[in-house]
Symmetry: C2
Subunit: 101 residues, 2 copies
């Protein structure tokens, strides 16, 4: 079982994660990605979904046309773990390839 990060570890991981921040009112991290259009937004989601499924660790996300709001937390651990940080990094890498930094 993967361990919940301490507030300090969470903060230090977030400092290296462009665009991500703490979600207020809940132990989770969030980022809103804004793409050029729906094609790019859903392309991002499709690639991220494959990563999520492969690692059996899934996002909560909302898509409205060209935006994708993502919330990551590890339910079993009751907070943010290394698995969330890894998925956030993978999402940033995919977005970067679509020109979103």
């Amino acid at each position: 079982m993967v361990e919940r990060l301490s507030p300090e570890a969470r903060k230090s991981a977030l400092a290296e994660l462009s665009g991500w921040s703490e979600l207020s009112g809940r132990e989770a991290i969030q980022r809103t990605f804004t793409f050029k259009d729906f094609n790019e937004a859903f392309g991002f989601m499709s690639r991220a979904a494959l990563v999520a499924e492969k690692n059996d660790h899934h996002p909560e996300w909302k898509n409205v046309y060209r935006t994708v709001e993502v919330v990551l937390a590890t339910h079993d651990a009751g907070g943010v773990t290394r698995r969330d940080i890894d998925l956030a990094k993978a999402m940033n890498a995919i977005a970067r390839q679509l020109g979103v930094t």
Copy 2:
């Protein structure tokens, strides 16, 4: 430009749309789909995304593991139009093929 449905027309369209209801506080329709797992939920989203893109009419949707909450409205028309009803029907047909009625 596609016309906003009257409350009566909306109600009568909804009566034929299994699982859909009016969204409270906003002129829109909603349905929450619950699939077997993330694979099926995202498979549903992928097929629905292709329909949405083809018709240039996109949903607002949120996915958490095996659930997909969908809200449909036509921004330009300030309410629900035939385009929303058509997309809702298409989504129901896709879900039905995945065993969700």
